[in-house]
């Protein structure tokens, strides 16, 4: 199933580039190149072959880890991506952690105090979070904490092994997580509300368990399944948010690389990045599926 999707993704990414206007050979050789040079480059790139042969060769190369060369830097795409990946990975990881840590308690509180001001207040905040474009959140945080209060750096990236690294990732991570905090909190709330109506919750209350035990042991555990699904789906959104956020905070990650590649019409780099992000996204969803079985013993995969 997943392999099928990945093959489909590779076809899509391959075709995407075929749709790009202009002849790749012309891009490499420059506009004044004589026709013989063009034909030589076409032959070298295999552009004179039928499209399915071209796709097959592309797939072969990709499976051997060869994503082509960047038109701009002349470096292998895999090298460029390998350099940018850790930044995006760390940013997404910290943002995911942050979203879960903030969103779950918010959702639970909201559900437990359903129809009180606490509930409507939280949900109103969540709606604001969903309606804010990620770049707006980033710029507002940047202005308040970077310029006005001067507490945190507004750009740059250092590895997370340093204090400076942690200081510089706080604002971007909060920015990336803002939208998913809102979505996750809303979903946790509705999921808990659903579970609280179940018989086993009534039983737990009837046998005199404390409300905390009922909520955190009986309700939250059972409410987690849809929440985990959304955490998985949100990772796509978080990756998307990372693209924009990296541009705002000048982080040298895959997102900024992609935007630069598009501006420079660096198609091999764009193609490699898109393929890789899709693969990462698909793998994440696979991990989420496996995680289900761990948290819900009722689910077993054949």
């Amino acid at each position: 199933m997943m392999i099928g999707v990945l093959v489909g993704v590779s076809v899509f990414v391959f075709l995407l580039l075929q749709l790009a206007p202009g002849n790749p050979a012309l891009l490499i050789a420059g506009p004044d190149a004589p026709p013989e040079t063009l034909r030589a480059i076409e032959r070298e790139l295999g552009l004179d072959q039928p499209i399915y042969v071209q796709y097959w060769r592309y797939l072969e190369r990709v499976l051997h880890g060869d994503l082509g060369k960047s038109l701009r830097s002349r470096l292998p795409v895999s090298f460029e991506v390998a350099r940018a990946f850790p930044v995006t990975f760390q940013l997404t990881l910290v943002a995911t952690f942050f979203s879960v840590v903030v969103a779950l308690p918010l959702g639970v509180t909201s559900a437990v105090h359903q129809n009180t001001w606490l509930d409507s207040g939280t949900m109103f905040l969540a709606l604001i979070g969903i309606s804010m474009p990620v770049f707006a959140v980033g710029l507002i945080l940047m202005w308040v904490f970077g310029f006005y209060l001067g507490w945190l750096p507004i750009s740059g990236f250092s590895p997370l092994t340093t204090v400076e690294g942690w200081r510089s990732i706080i604002l971007p991570a909060v920015t990336v997580s803002s939208a998913s905090i809102a979505t996750m909190a809303r979903l946790t709330r509705s999921s808990i509300l659903e579970v609280l109506r179940q018989d086993y919750v009534r039983t737990a209350r009837a046998k005199g368990l404390g409300e905390k035990v009922v909520i955190y042991k009986h309700a939250l555990r059972n409410a987690m399944l849809p929440v985990v699904t959304v955490i998985g789906l949100q990772i796509g959104g978080l990756l998307g948010g990372a693209v924009v956020t990296e541009t705002i905070f000048a982080l040298p990650g895959m997102g900024r690389l992609a935007v630069k590649a598009i501006e420079g019409r660096d198609f091999p780099l764009v193609q490699g990045l898109v393929l890789l992000i899709a693969v990462i996204f698909a793998l994440t969803n696979l991990v989420v599926d496996i995680f289900y079985a761990l948290i819900d013993p009722r689910i077993r995969y054949e």
Binding site: S131, L139, G236, G237
Partner: protein, 291 residues
């Protein structure tokens, strides 16, 4: 009573619609959303009369003016009147959202109907949907614009394409549940053609969740459009597009935060309006979805 009066069904239908309308009118947040959106639409239509000056007219001697009674929202780095630019920006943002969702709606609902009704088509379509869904939405949009080239038209196409899978899925899901109902069986028994069954009997009954989804999706389409423009992939300067305006205000953020504030406020209010209305429509049209 044996002989039903002629037009009985119609009366029921109309009174049902009136009931839904009344319920929507009583829904507070939905009404707030409707008011916000109506104001935005009016602003977009009457932009030339509301704007105080040409949104492209520069006045370098008057850069970064603070909001005042001459420039309600102040001026930007080139001394252009921000109020006028935000007002004209509503045209681009609303058009982008509506056209993109319109494209996705037409293609998505059409395909979803066929996929839900014919299992063989379903098999192929759902594989394609899986592939499109394998990309995070905004990244897919960025990739498409990346290949087609930056620009407002390509941004609309990109947002439209990325919105199609959602419409296919939601339409297909409701067709699957309606296909087996008794009234569809009855229609089939009376010899109605498949075309007639799909368009006359199934389509109208799938509309409620699609309308809710479409309204909520307008907000994310407008957001995506603004993000593309912010990244320099959508509307190009000097076009007064909200995302692009925020983008160009970035380098002067410390000096003149108001140049970012007003376009952000405009995006936020518009998106909030569609979210409010969508939530309200869902509560009214499909109360089961409310938790």
């Amino acid at each position: 009573m044996i002989g039903k009066p002629v037009g009985h069904d119609r009366t029921i239908l109309e009174s049902q619609r009136a009931l839904l309308g009344r319920r929507l009118l009583r829904h507070k947040t939905a009404m707030i959303g409707l008011v916000i959106i109506s104001v935005m639409i009016l602003v977009a239509i009457f932009a030339p009369y509301i704007a105080v000056q040409d949104p492209l007219q520069q006045d370098i001697s008057n850069r970064f003016a603070r909001p005042s009674r001459f420039h309600y929202f102040g001026t930007d780095a080139l001394g252009r009147d921000l109020f006028s630019r935000v007002v004209y920006g509503s045209r681009i943002s609303l058009m982008l959202g509506v056209v993109a969702v319109g494209i996705a709606f037409t293609i998505g609902v059409g395909t979803g109907l066929l996929a839900g009704y014919y299992p063989t088509i379903d098999l192929v379509v759902m594989r394609l949907v899986d592939i499109l869904m394998a990309f995070p939405t905004i990244l897919l949009a960025i990739a498409i614009v990346g290949v087609l080239g930056p620009g407002i038209f390509n941004a609309i196409v990109a947002v439209g394409i990325t919105s199609i899978p959602g419409f296919i899925r939601i339409t297909r899901a409701s067709v699957l549940s309606i296909r087996e109902t008794e009234y569809v069986e009855a229609a089939r028994a009376t010899g109605a053609s498949e075309f007639r069954i799909i368009y006359q009997h199934i389509l109208p009954n799938t509309m409620a969740p699609i309308i809710v989804y479409g309204t909520l999706h307008l907000s994310s389409a407008i957001l995506s459009g603004a993000i593309l423009s912010f990244l320099g992939l959508g509307a190009q300067p000097p076009a007064p597009e909200w995302g692009a305006m925020v983008s160009s205000s970035r380098q002067y953020l410390n000096l003149a935060p108001h140049t970012a504030f007003f376009p952000i406020l405009a995006i936020f209010l518009t998106v909030l309006g569609f979210n409010f209305l969508g939530d309200g429509l869902r509560d009214v049209l499909d109360p089961r979805l409310k938790n």
